[in-house]
Symmetry: C2
Subunit: 524 residues, 2 copies
């Protein structure tokens, strides 16, 4: 498939008229063709009108049709074959194995949501039958289910060119819910976006769905994204990226005549707790596992371990020595974009220059462009508490280790943390009491608490939460990964004494879809 | 019980230091004692700190304890006996039967949430057991449930002094979820608020819960409410009132360092569709039912029928004549406050003066203060579409009837409506095709679609939705009435490889609470 550099709107290829984007190979610095000229505002509005028109039909498509559509997207992405992997490697600097894994995960995710749609549990169908003889007043027949919100704007993320991008978790869950999707491609991987976008567009055709169900837009700067979120036909937003970008979109969405929900996944330093028992028992093994987690994907994960807390003392020193040696000897990896590399270097320079911070290790300098020189830093917990700049995320393989005087200080610091995606507790013999206290504190701070591991692997399943209190996300009530992600794009409607033939299928008396329902407060 | 005029904070009675509120009997204009001096900002912060401290314990209280607490509140409210009803009558002008019904409904609501808590389905517990042998990577043990958000600020509503006030739906659902509640009393019924507040305070003591679980604050103007929503210990807001008040709180909540969700139920004109078949078949009966619904509580319901749409023609004329005669002969009722009465009169005066609007009926003037003279007005659908002022809610017994040229214009007008709480379709022989089209449009506009009735009765049950797209509410994904209202005050947390003893009870292997769970994608 030859890349065209065109936007995909309503089943057509639309050439942009504005400034063009060109991908840059971060490993070589070379610009990659073709040029992707950006859209103007009128074309954005066209895409949104088409999405709204498609919504009227698509929201009422049967679960079987929507599930088949999601599976067809997965098939079409797989059918892109090696071209997709090679282009993504060029655009992101990520290695083949990682991208192949990410493709597998993305296709599994689409298939998971096909299952969620077929199952129908997410509709939360409830029926309170009429009680015509109830005194003093009869009860009408009341039925409840969730319906699609409307067209969703999705912003591709730089760090997951497949799993959080054109056909990633936001798109899969929105399409599953019955919402058309208008994607703003991330400017760092426009070619990968076009390939995936054309796979989705082909799946729309294969499944005979209205063209407006999917669109893919390009644009340099913020203009296109802002116009998209402000468009009256857009009813929700999915975003993964920086805190600044996410909060800017939240403002745009709140200032609309009709405010809409924004699901922005933004900023997290993912504290890791190394409790005394585990440091004594197996500090060295934990140091190795920690360095492996920190280095994964050059630390360019939302769930990368950016903060480690441990009690001060010899076991911590031994952990640090071991981790430092591993990091100093670790190979450098190419970062996703020159901008990310520059911000990473600035973040590390600020830590190196901070009077309260000791540099424990940096990876060796390497030849090549945009190389991530991983960093390990140490500070006292009290200094961290005294300077909120130390709590800012440095995106990439960078970890600050905090020496806590005692368990009380560890708990105090935990209470002072901002919201996070994950927290990991490493716990050994004798640690249970402290671990219990930490779980109680961390539940209030994070979306996922895990033991004896690191948050970098995010399983796509029923029980996953990839979310958390602000600023980890803009809406702690939701997750952007896992089956519950579909709940972001639905809202409840109650039907009172509505004739059976006019009810949504899930609420009809004979339950033609066979969805699980709560009838008279009992599960059926 | 003698009224003290004191705020209730942390189990204590706290005398305010600011300007006092006095209730006014709207039927007589007389001021009612005692004086309720308002709090200052420092006292608000105290109440929020206490709520946060209480949250740490209360959120982990067992379902049995929380359910018993909710039931004890209901018992304590009932034990207030006639004093509550008489004070509420004095403060609101509402008749005894209505207030007795509202008390029953409020207590049923508390008991419904006790059942929701005991049942545990709202926790949405999910378990994906570990798959240690999965290739290429094992799956960890992942468990998911919903936990309480944190202390909730609740604003009492003028129009439901019991059901949407100190111990109304917002408070009941927040307490059920495990969230302490800080109530800002509505200034129109401070005595009713104190009585109910002391019943709740007593229930806190009866159940040996931490004092900070409940607080009741007074204050004139917006100062106290703004301080409450801005307080960092408050994690969500429940509000029922005007569009201006609700959007102001949304702004405050969004501008916090940590934005929080606001559940504001604000503005709705609740369109009623009278289709041709029904007007021919039983126009007179529908006119009588309509006038009864319009007059209920002097129209001071969020779900009052403010807009009627019908095809122009003789059947509509007959309906209007009949409804007008009924309204002209209807007795006046006392409105809730002088402010509401004044706004009502202004709203009707604007309609009477509008060049495109015909006054079809006004109820006769009556002696007495703050009397609601119900109004019925008529305009052409095209004029309504041309002037958005005609779509503004006039709170009280006021309805604008729109003559639609044809079904297409009715549908066009429907598409142009703002979000609404309810829409009612009256449908008879031959109306099914149009009714079907309307249901499809109205699903996108409202929280509840009903047939052959009016939205004024809001059943408290599993399947109710009292919500809808903006500006009906600030968050269309939620309901403020019914079992699903609890979902506003929870968020998901995932537990990965967490030792069984440290898991929330709902997720432990032996399921000690016996809650429904999804294990390996199957309901257990």
């Amino acid at each position: 498939m030859e890349l065209t550099g065109h936007n995909l709107i309503g089943g057509r290829e639309v050439a942009g008229t504005r400034e063009g984007i060109r991908a840059i190979n971060p490993a070589t610095g070379e610009a990659l063709g073709p040029d992707f000229p950006g859209l103007d505002g009128a074309a954005v509005a066209d895409a949104c009108v088409l999405a709204w028109e498609a919504f009227r039909e698509y929201r009422n498509s049967s679960p079987a049709v929507r599930a088949a559509f999601l599976e067809t997207i997965a098939d079409r992405i797989e059918a892109l074959g090696d071209q997709l992997i090679e282009r993504a490697m060029q655009e992101t600097g990520l290695p083949r194995a990682r991208l192949e894994g990410e493709r597998g995960r993305s296709c599994n995710q689409l298939r998971l949501f096909a299952g969620v749609v077929r199952d129908g549990r997410y509709l939360d169908a409830r029926i309170d039958p009429a009680l015509p003889n109830r005194a003093p007043l009869p009860r009408p027949d009341l039925r409840y289910n969730l319906i699609a919100l409307g067209p969703v704007a999705v912003f591709g993320a730089s760090n997951f060119p497949l799993a959080f991008s054109v056909a990633g978790g936001d798109t899969a869950s929105a399409l599953a819910a019955g919402c058309p999707v208008v994607v703003k491609a991330h400017s760092a991987h426009p070619g990968t976006s076009e390939l995936v976008g054309r796979a989705v567009q082909q799946a729309v055709r294969d499944c005979d769905l209205p063209d407006g169900v999917f669109a893919l837009l390009y644009g340099a700067g913020n203009e296109i994204g802002t116009a998209l979120v402000a468009d009256p036909h857009i009813k929700a937003v999915g975003f993964t990226g920086s805190r600044r970008g996410g909060t800017a979109l939240m403002q745009v969405a709140q200032n609309r005549p009709e405010p809409i929900p924004v699901y922005a996944e933004m900023s997290s330093i993912n504290p890791v707790y190394l409790l005394p028992g585990v440091l004594s028992e197996r500090g060295k093994a934990v140091a190795e596992a920690f360095v492996a987690a920190q280095q994964m994907g050059a630390g360019q994960f939302c769930t990368s371990p950016g903060l480690v807390l441990a009690l001060d003392g010899e076991p911590l020193d031994a952990f640090l020595d071991h981790a430092a040696a591993r990091i100093a000897a670790s190979p450098c990896q190419t970062m996703l974009t020159p901008g990310i590399h520059q911000a990473f270097e600035q973040g590390l320079a600020a830590l190196e220059a901070h009077p309260a911070v000791t540099t424990q290790a940096r990876a060796c300098p390497a030849d090549g462009n945009n190389q991530c020189r991983a960093g390990l830093f140490v500070a006292a917990a009290a200094d961290f508490l005294a300077d909120e700049r130390l709590a800012a995320e440095v995106f990439g393989a960078c970890t600050l280790v905090l020496r806590c005087r005692d368990a009380a200080e560890m708990l105090q610091l935990t209470r002072a943390l901002e919201g996070q995606l994950t927290a990991a507790i490493h716990s050994g013999a004798g640690d249970e009491a402290l671990a219990r206290e930490l779980v109680g504190e961390l539940e209030l701070k994070v979306g996922r608490v895990l033991f004896n591991g690191f948050g970098t692997g995010v399983e796509v399943c029923q029980a996953m939460v990839h979310g958390g209190p602000f600023p980890a996300t803009s809406d702690s009530r939701t997750t952007s990964v896992g089956a519950a992600a579909i709940q972001r794009f639905v809202r409840p409607v109650c039907y009172q004494d509505v004739p059976d033939a006019l009810l949504p299928p899930a609420l009809r008396q004979d339950n033609p879809l066979g969805v699980p329902r709560l009838v008279n407060c009992r599960a059926e």
